[in-house]
């Protein structure tokens, strides 16, 4: 750093900036103020404005985008059918880049600047937990489509979710492992960087042991890792009958490939983080014979689900994953609550959401319990011959 010398400036802006930095600051503040003031205040007599936040860029971008797709579809379907309370619904989407403090900032913006009536988001519990206190403080209802950490809804009575929580999901897979797969010795491979993975692994271990099972190995990796041979070799040496890997699909594909190459041919199990078309794409043949718990199954013959799948395919040229389904349901539950409350007043909508009972959603019949969590069954899917196959439903 001792090499850079302050030489003559040849840029025309140089002199101005050097002599009057305060003027320049004023200019910056002015630009900021101007560009932000042009953001239109929503005209509450002609439309209902909802806020949405998610990770549209960054390492978990696909989750945010899937959820956004689901929500967009729900909004369009609603508007086509006449809107809500006689008004059209508009969604303002903000990107939190996968960072918790960004989540907090954008939700503050949505609530105080954009004056939204409600918030939808997010997928990752850590980001929802960072943003929820803002919604709670301002009396704006927030529905998370797929944050599964139990602590999320503990933040306050304006915070809801339309998915099941990890304690239930871990129990589901523990039951499945014990009763259906009938395995006694399981190895755990969790993503240490991911609170979802760590939490789900904990619950599974607790329940599995209670049912008489044995955890023979406990390994971890980091989201973004590509080489798992060290952990897999270690796991292989402990001779498990199955591996529970509650991470995101982004790593699962690689893990099972490497496992098969190392000669580890036992079934792998996971949670809803596995759900994505990319899972089979990346995992290829190696992921056949694996199981995971999910919110719904795209091969479910019910007409409602099949319509959703075909609409989604037509619109986005891709098969919807659970996040899209949950996004759709979160939006639908919100709209239903607003309709029942016949108003967009925070407290009234909150009470209406809390009273949701047997709402017929894409991801199952949704009833909100006293802890503001959704009571729904989980499905277990198996990957077979490159396709997802429904195995069974496990109810709470």
């Amino acid at each position: 750093m001792a090499n850079s010398r302050d030489l003559q400036v040849s840029s025309p802006l140089g002199g101005f900036m050097r002599r009057k930095p305060w003027l320049f600051l004023l200019f910056v503040v002015g630009v900021f103020a101007l560009t932000s003031c042009t953001g239109a205040r929503s005209d509450s007599t002609s439309e209902i404005v909802i806020g949405e936040f998610g990770s549209l860029t960054g390492t978990t971008a696909t989750f945010g985008i899937s959820t956004k797709n689901g929500i967009d579809m729900a909004v369009d379907d609603l508007n086509k059918a006449g809107g809500l309370l006689g008004k059209k619904v508009r969604v303002i989407v903000e990107d939190d880049q996968g960072k918790p403090e960004e989540a907090q900032t954008v939700v503050t913006k949505l609530i105080t600047k954009d004056q939204v009536s409600a918030i939808l988001g997010e997928v990752a519990s850590s980001r929802t937990m960072a943003a929820a206190p803002v919604a709670q403080q301002n009396g704006i209802p927030l529905i998370s489509p797929s944050s599964t950490n139990p602590k999320v809804t503990e933040i306050g009575d304006y915070i809801f979710r339309v998915c099941f929580i990890d304690p239930f999901q871990g129990l589901v897979m523990a039951k499945f492992a014990t009763n259906t797969l009938k395995v006694k010795n399981v190895a755990i491979l969790r993503d240490i960087k991911n609170d979802y993975s760590v939490g789900l692994a904990e619950v599974f271990v607790e329940n599995f042991k209670k049912m008489g099972g044995n955890i023979v190995a406990n390994e971890s990796y980091s989201e973004g890792d590509t080489d798992f041979s060290a952990q897999l070799t270690s796991i292989k040496s402990k001779n498990p009958q199955a591996v529970f890997m509650p991470g995101y699909y982004t790593e699962v594909g690689l893990v099972v490939r490497q496992a098969r190459k190392l000669g580890l041919n036992i079934p792998f199990m996971g949670g809803d983080g596995w759900d994505s078309p990319s899972l089979i794409q990346i995992g290829g043949e190696a992921v056949n014979g694996s199981y995971y718990s999910n919110h719904f199954s795209v091969s479910d013959p019910s007409p409602k689900i099949q319509k959703f799948v075909s609409d989604y395919k037509a619109r986005y040229s891709a098969t919807p994953d659970a996040l899209a389904g949950l996004g759709y349901d979160a939006a639908s539950v919100l709209f239903d609550a607003i309709k029942r409350a016949n108003s967009t007043d925070g407290a009234k909508v909150r009470d209406a959401i809390a009273a949701t009972k047997d709402f017929d959603g894409i991801t199952g019949k949704i009833t909100i319990d006293k802890d503001r969590n959704a009571v729904k069954p989980a499905v277990v899917l198996q990957v077979k011959d490159g396709k997802l196959q429904y195995v069974e439903t496990i109810a709470p």
């Binding site: 850079s4 390492t59 696909t62 590509t226 080489d227 041979s229 060290a230 690689l254 000669g263 990346i282």
Partner: protein, 353 residues
């Protein structure tokens, strides 16, 4: 014992991946004294180019599944990566050294294209935006807006960070943020040698990496351009005085380094077939650590550093706490730099007053 040998093999294959990327870092640092943070994103670019080439219908129908296809895909991706490297050098780093033409036009053109895309998601709108940006850029330069003539290393570093951000986020928009599957253009076969199971792919990757390093050594030590590279890395000003076209040498270095990064991208994607626009971030950081470990500026050092790092990581994960894997790279780095501050093969720099 067999587990230990298995882990050893894992370590070598992981290490060769880091080494390939480290080579590019060390070369650019050698000639420019610049930590090219954008290098890891050229690696990503190479992987994506390989993806598009391998999935290209024309290539698939005309060339089929032969090893020839694999070689062509590799060379094609390397060429495209070299191209990107040259673009970056021309429009981001060279202006940072005070000379450029049309750098402003280049960046404004891209900004314009993005703006066009935001306004209306059609090709026409994007092109109009790009054209507008280009025109504004060219006009501004004609009117007199020139890059600052100061050679600030720190400013170059910030430019590198900027280019990296640009490639990563631009990549997410252009390629899509979702991870994609890299086609297995080289068939994998599991060879059972004794109690070990060796993946033939890993051997091929290691082999190609070694070949590339040998080629690099030949170019640097036995060609005229290579001599120019060595001269420039020794003393830029003296090289200029000797009549060497330093700009061209620097551009060539970038092209070479980027081609290696692109090759690295393809080889690693064969072993770990998941690619996404952010795939370069962590490997890039670790490869840079490997380059510093081996003595930054030293080519053999980069390969050694990569191997050491790969092994250490695998051993630490296999026998220690797998949760600290990311930290291992840095802990090793700190330890080695404390003992030998210029890296394993680094020459002790005598600072003259």
């Amino acid at each position: 014992m067999e587990t230990f040998l298995q882990q050893l093999i894992n370590g070598v294959s992981q290490g060769s991946a880091y080494a390939l990327i480290a080579l590019g870092y060390t070369m650019v640092y050698g000639v420019l004294r610049l930590i090219n943070f954008a290098h890891s994103d050229v690696y990503m670019f190479g992987a994506f180019m390989g993806f598009y080439l391998a999935n290209n219908e024309w290539i698939k129908t005309h060339l089929g599944d032969s090893p020839l296809t694999a070689v062509l895909v590799l060379l094609g991706a390397m060429a495209l990566s070299a191209g990107v490297g040259i673009l970056i050098e021309r429009f981001a780093y060279r202006p940072g050294r005070g000379k450029s033409r049309f750098a402003l036009a280049f960046w404004l053109g891209i900004a314009g294209a993005a703006a066009g895309q935001l306004v209306n998601a059609s090709l026409a709108s994007t092109l109009i935006g790009a054209a507008a940006g280009l025109i504004i850029g060219i006009v501004s330069e004609k009117v007199g807006l020139r890059p600052a003539q100061e050679n600030s290393r720190l400013a170059l570093l910030i430019i590198a960070i900027g280019v990296s951000l640009f490639l990563e986020n631009g990549g997410q928009q252009v390629f899509g943020a979702d991870p994609k599957f890299f086609p297995q253009i080289i068939e994998t076969r599991l060879l059972d040698i004794g109690p070990l199971r060796i993946d033939s792919q890993k051997l091929i990757v290691l082999g190609v990496a070694v070949v590339l390093m040998v080629l690099l050594n030949v170019i640097v030590n036995y060609t005229k351009t290579g001599k120019g590279m060595r001269a420039v890395s020794f003393n830029l000003d003296a090289a200029k005085l000797m009549g060497i076209n330093t700009d061209r040498i620097i551009a060539f270095t970038f092209a070479l380094g980027s081609a290696l990064a692109g090759a690295g991208g393809i080889l690693v994607s064969l072993l770990y077939p998941k690619i996404d626009p952010l795939m370069g971030v962590m490997p890039g950081l670790k490869a840079f650590v490997a380059a510093v470990l081996g003595g930054i500026g030293n080519i053999t050092g980069a390969m050694l550093g990569g191997l050491v790092l790969g092994m250490a990581e695998v051993m630490a994960v296999g026998y220690g706490e797998s949760t600290y894997r990311d930290a291992i790279a840095f802990i090793i780095l700190v330890l080695i730099l404390l003992l030998k501050p210029t890296g394993i093969m680094g020459k002790g720099m005598i600072e003259k007053v």
